[in-house]
């Protein structure tokens, strides 16, 4: 089996989790079908980034024109590498960078591409793609072709920890190929300000309900939200107490949310609330009542006291983040 390439996505000196998930996927294929896993790392001053990538080889291209992502130089470098090395697979994370690159390279190099990819399965020496389309409602499968296939992998199936290693692999530098002047220039990176919160656009939300009991506990929930990098929202009773502003109301006369993660603390799951959170990708519910309807819609749940679990969870998350 030929090599499996993984594009390493990083931002401000940190490798994105999705890259480790892609590596975990690559490792799984390598294990069953053979072949080397090669991480492709583009950037500037990126020596430290390669330390825990679970790959047999790391190809690095370091140049100041690659310091921040812009399409033209990155696509040019990757096109050259793919043409040179002819890997069997090149896996990108399904992100705003990965999908730009994978789509462009597919058209430029006339290579097949799988997006919304849940996993690449190795079956009897053949590789099959499983794409999770229509917002997860439909799975589509098919055979990969013999040529280099490009993949953008969605998170979910693979764990980031399975894409990390402690042994530093072989690093080989690849020289920057010649490319025409970039038609795109990066002007500025804008970090979020935290004001003008629109919960319908948040990716991580912690919802608090009647079970939160008093205002002091709201600040604990806030701490948990900070730890997760998310925002607080609430059901009607909490908003009416004035503990959170109306802009954070979920449900009837409030907002409909569709975060990647919704952690429901002390929310029983009244129908109008459930209706407004249905589109969340992952719901985890904390409620002491095992019969609470929120458990009908949540993927995971616990009946532990929400204060205890919140405190413990803050610790766990900090640990996970730190490690």
């Amino acid at each position: 089996m030929s090599e499996i390439f993984v594009y390493v996505e990083h931002f401000q000196g940190i490798v994105s989790d999705i890259t480790y998930m892609c590596l975990a996927q690559a490792q799984q294929i390598a294990k069953s079908n053979g072949g080397n896993v090669v991480a492709v790392l583009l950037g500037h001053n990126i020596e430290l980034l390669s330390k825990d990538l679970f790959a047999d080889e790391i190809i690095t291209v370091s140049h100041d024109s690659l310091a921040e992502f812009t399409y033209d130089p990155f696509a040019a470098v990757l096109a050259k590498i793919i043409q040179d090395k002819q890997p069997g697979l090149m896996i990108f994370g399904d992100t705003s960078i990965g999908s730009d690159l994978a789509g462009g390279l597919s058209a430029r190099l006339h290579l097949p591409l799988v997006s919304f990819c849940k996993e690449i399965k190795a079956e009897e020496g053949k590789l099959r793609f499983v794409a999770q389309i229509c917002g997860g409602k439909i799975f589509a499968e098919g055979d990969l072709k013999e040529c280099t296939s490009l993949v953008t992998l969605s998170p979910g199936k693979f764990k980031a920890k399975d894409g990390k290693t402690t042994t530093t692999p072989k690093v080989s530098a690849y020289s920057l190929p010649a490319f025409e002047k970039s038609r795109i220039t990066l002007k500025e990176i804008i970090l979020p300000s935290g004001e003008d919160l629109d919960i319908s656009k948040e990716e991580i939300l912690i919802g608090i309900g009647r079970g939160i009991e008093n205002e002091d506990n709201v600040s604990l929930a806030k701490e948990l939200a900070d730890a997760l990098g998310g925002e607080l929202c609430a059901s009607r009773p909490v908003i009416d107490q004035g503990w959170l502003s109306t802009s954070r109301l979920v449900g009837k006369s409030g907002k409909t949310i569709k975060p990647k993660l919704y952690l429901a603390l002390g929310i029983s799951g009244a129908p109008e609330h459930v209706e407004s959170i249905e589109e969340s990708e992952m719901i985890i519910a904390v409620n002491t009542d095992p019969e609470a309807p929120i458990f009908n819609i949540a993927r995971y749940g616990t009946t532990e006291n929400l204060l205890d679990i919140s405190k413990e969870l803050i610790r766990s998350i900090q640990k996970v983040k730190g490690g």
Binding site: R236, T246, S253, T256, A270, E272, E275
Partner: protein
Amino acid sequence: MPHRPDFWGIEPEWMRYFIYGILTLALLVMLIRTFYQARLWWKVGQPEKRFDQPFKRIGRMLNQVFVQQRILSQPYAGIMHALMAWSFFILFLGTPIGIVNAYVFPGFLKGQIFLIFKLIMDLCVIVFLIGAGMAAYRRIVIRPKKLTLERRFGFTLVLLTLIILTGPSIEGARLAVLSIEENITYGSWMPVGWAIAQLFLNSGSTVDTVHLWHTIFYYSHVGLVITLFLTLPVGTMIHVITTPLNVFFSKLQPMGQLSAVQEDSAHNLILADRLKNLTWKQLMDGDACTECGRCQEVCPAYAVGLELNPKKLVLNIRDALHRDGALIIQGTEPSIPLVGGTVTTNVLWECTTCGACIKECPAFVDHISDIVSMRRHLVNEGEVDDMLQTSLANLGRYGNSFGKSGRMRAGWAKELEFEIKDATKEPVEYLWFVGDYASFSPTLTETTIKTAKVLRSAGVDFGILYDTERNAGNDVRRVGEEGLFEVLVEQNSKALQKADFKAIVTTDPHTYNTLKNEYPEEVINGRPILHYSELLDQLIASGKLKFNKKLDLKVTYHDPCYLARYNGVYDAPRRVIHATGCELIEMPRNREHGFCCGAGGGRIYLDEGTMPERPSENRIREGVTLKDVSTFVVACPKDISMFQDAVKTTSLEDKLNVKDLIELVYEAL
């Protein structure tokens, strides 16, 4: 023999012609000024047909002008107004009768007839003064919040009172002179004039002095009347012309029927984005408004501290017309826009179209027609909030505001142990139009299931339209999306025409209203439209629906606006409540005066925003004031939703239990 002397003591003789002349002139000035003001209605406004059924219109006008039915529905202000209006009107007739006496049938006012005439006139003076006293007390001491407390109203009151007082003063002075010169015996027939005469006599004034006073009173009277004529078109008294006109031209269609969007000759929609795109009748409303504030007093939006004040809405439009009307006629666009200037968009969206203002208005102003006209403009410009946009998009695509697939509409029926007939496939007696909320809202489907069970147990032959039913469009129309309303009507009409039924029964009063008042006749074919409370009432009366239990609850009942105020269904739900054995205790605001839950007119589709108190909470707080009442009965799915929320937010869940009428019936079976 007593008789009516003409121009007694007014010398020289040409003076009387001068007075006739100057009064005629003043009257002409008044008419010209009034016309000048009124011409703005049709010069600025759009055409609208309001001349049909003239006799019905005249009847309505006479009833409101002379009987003053609407005005009298408020005791203090009503009696106050009627006392002044009736007496002033009769006193006003005194002058033409005098002219008839002088020139047409010379001297017919003599002897007993003259004395009775004078007695009536003097009594009217007393009646007027009582009314004026009440008005002054109200304006100075009571000072109700709803009233415009401005000098121009005080001016009118003083002016009228002086006109009324100078009349008998002239008479008094004349009687005093006559008493000195000859002995008169009929003085007590003119009690006010006679009393004034006694003042002169007791003061020992000479004939010359009294004559002088008579002359002063006389010219003052004439002067005051001239003042009244000259100021009438720009003062508060204009209402004696505009208000009856407005009543004459008021809407004859059912209250629950809105007019369609008008098109110009090039088939462009005329939308109320500017003053000149309101109709002349909508502009007339402002000049007919007497600023009594009764609309303000009953408005749920105003009551909970929102920006909308129906009185201000109408007056702001009036003031804009007076300010910019002349410019608009010249073809200049005024600097202040109508929507977003004269009327803010907040005001437009805050209205629940509950209709309390319309029902209350003694001048028959139609506030809601203005609001819906302007909302239509906003919707046309896409100026709708996110929630409303989502709701409308859902209604357009899926036929319901919930954004659920139409196939799920009868999802609730799966939980029944029997199958409901598909009215598009087999004939039924009653076609049950379930409506969006009862079909899709997870909190309400349980009630819907109970409704089905009750109908079944009463042996009613009924069916539903399943996935061919769409939102009926009542609130869509009121929110201003007329095009979508038309689409929904077309879709529902198609389904209804496919079905074979004898009557329609609806769950939602809003559905009820639009089916009853706004759906095309060729679809409904004169078949009865019933609200489920009416059907239950009929079933109980005919003995088909029998109860095994007596519920022995003390309950109160909330009138849904679109059932009660809009369509006059007050008694059917009350009879059903009685039949279940419950004791009904009325809230202070009941029947026609019921207080809106806040969800109507498409408000349920909008972002509620923040307000000091929600109308539903205000209503719940009214409900809990009733002694021993444990249950708050409603007959509208949106009411359940609104009030169940309100008892939670007011923490009154323990005190008041919100229940649908059908739940009482179900429990009593």
